[in-house]
């Protein structure tokens, strides 16, 4: 069965390592914070100028001057630091963030990603996403594998305006965990109960299936 949003977040969280500085995008990526494995510490970077983002505040703690990149009120953890936007993106662009998790509309076999606009229909703006995909070495894209109508989002070539070129190596969808290399999608893991054939069918770009593909473990 396809993973729920929570399960996608849970699987991504398994990629966290102790001491990682992590930037989580808006939407599913934000949920990853709820599944940090036991015994592991990570610090969350929010590109509006905070490293060490904590939980949502209580009613009493709410502070209009303390928000995350999704403009939600948040708190700080012990050891947090604050800085301006140029410094925040110096961290990001300079490759100092260990892991970036963000959503997308489409990815393709060349590691291209489209996530910020659908011409004539939707313009969100790229926010910090273009900086994040260009600056980070270790990125996980979370997205649904295909549209409700069964149209694949893992393409030979992105159709929408790009957010970044050749920068995505790992994609976690509701159906599969996939690595992008050598111009192909490589199937690493399947969602529990989802067959390789199902994944194959909903993947437009060339999918390499090497040996037995394990199910994700939770």
């Amino acid at each position: 069965m396809a993973l729920s949003r929570e399960q996608i977040a849970q699987r991504v969280a398994q990629e966290l390592k102790d001491g990682y500085y992590v930037n989580l995008g808006i939407g599913i990526p934000t949920l990853v914070a709820n599944y940090v494995p036991e015994g592991i510490e990570v610090m969350l970077q929010s590109e509006n100028g905070l490293l060490g983002m904590g939980r949502f505040p209580t009613e009493e703690e709410v502070d209009a001057d303390l928000i995350n990149a999704g403009k939600q009120t948040v708190t700080m953890t012990a050891g947090a630091s604050l800085f301006d936007s140029a410094e925040s993106f110096a961290m990001i662009r300079g490759g100092h963030v260990d892991l970036t998790v963000l959503g997308a509309f489409e990815v393709d076999v060349e590691g291209n990603i489209a996530s910020y606009m659908i011409p004539g229909k939707l313009i969100k703006g790229m926010g910090g996403a273009m900086d994040l995909v260009a600056g980070a070495d270790n990125i996980i894209v979370t997205m649904t594998h295909a549209s409700k109508h069964g149209v694949s989002k893992l393409l030979n070539k992105c159709t929408l305006p790009l957010t970044g070129k050749g920068c995505i190596k790992k994609v976690l969808t509701d159906l599969a965990f996939i690595e992008i290399k050598d111009g192909k999608f490589h199937l690493l893991e399947r969602a529990p109960g989802v067959s390789v054939e199902e994944i194959q069918q909903l993947t437009e770009g060339e999918l390499v299936v090497n040996g037995e593909i394990p199910e994700m473990q939770f």
Binding site: L50, D65, G120, I123, G125, G128, M130, G135
Partner: protein, 240 residues
């Protein structure tokens, strides 16, 4: 006003000289740390044809959004259009010119503008619509695009505290683009919650030197919260 005293006493005075068709660099991230009273004064003045450089354009009803509503803005340079329906619709209709700029590039363009760096290379936006018309160059096997700096006729800034010399302290994530914007204005106007005497701020804790500040005014702030997310207060504490 003599010596280094930058304090002015009215918002009219704070924005004296602001004219139609000028370029404004405006601090704030959404409504967080936005110079809300300076923006209201621009609405009052009815200045039009403005080019506004700011991460986003407030919401439909607050922050820079109120200038969009009155069609005082001709062009926006911003990274994010969301949370403001007027912004998206005026952009789609072509009524508003928009230069979508990645957030980090925007921050760096402001800093560069203030720092006398006319242009810099960044990997951000390479191979995307942002790169159109821009030089591409390879350094150490990686592709970068050339981005030019930005400056404005005015910079509008919100800080937390200042001394009368314009030395600024920001608070939490309300800092965001504010210190960068402050460096990039020909005339930099700052509104703050509190003004103290020179010597009262620890020189090591000043976030931005008063050398960048031309006018300073004490304001009262609404501080609208866009997304009030809370947890029940009976959960145990983890944050600081």
């Amino acid at each position: 006003m003599a010596g280094f005293n930058k304090v002015v006493n009215s918002y009219q005075e704070a924005l004296a000289g602001l004219e139609d068709n000028m370029t404004l660099i405006v601090g704030g991230f959404g409504l967080c740390g936005n110079p809300e009273n300076l923006i209201k004064e621009i609405k009052r003045r009815g200045t039009t044809g403005l080019t506004v450089v700011s991460n986003n354009c407030g919401t439909t009803e607050h922050g820079l959004g109120i200038l969009l509503f009155d069609k005082q803005i001709k062009k926006m340079v911003a990274s994010y259009v969301g949370e403001n329906d007027n912004f998206e619709s005026q952009m789609m209709s072509g009524e508003l010119e928009v230069e979508l700029t990645p957030q980090g590039t925007l921050a760096e363009k402001m800093r560069a503008g203030g720092a006398g760096i006319p242009a810099f290379y960044t990997a951000t936006g390479y191979g995307t619509p942002v790169a159109e018309g821009k030089e591409v160059r390879e350094f150490n096997g990686k592709k970068y695009i050339l981005e030019e700096s930005v400056t404005g006729d005015f910079a509008l800034v919100k800080a937390y505290k200042a001394d009368t010399y314009g030395n600024l302290v920001f608070r939490k994530t309300a800092r965001n683009f504010n210190p960068l914007a402050a460096t990039a204005g020909k005339i930099t106007v700052v509104e703050v919650e509190e003004i103290v005497e020179p010597g009262e701020l620890d020189p090591d804790e000043i976030h931005l030197s008063g050398i960048y500040v031309d006018r300073l005014i004490k304001g009262d702030f609404e501080k609208i919260i866009e997304q009030r997310t809370v947890r029940p207060s009976n959960q145990s504490e983890q944050g600081a």
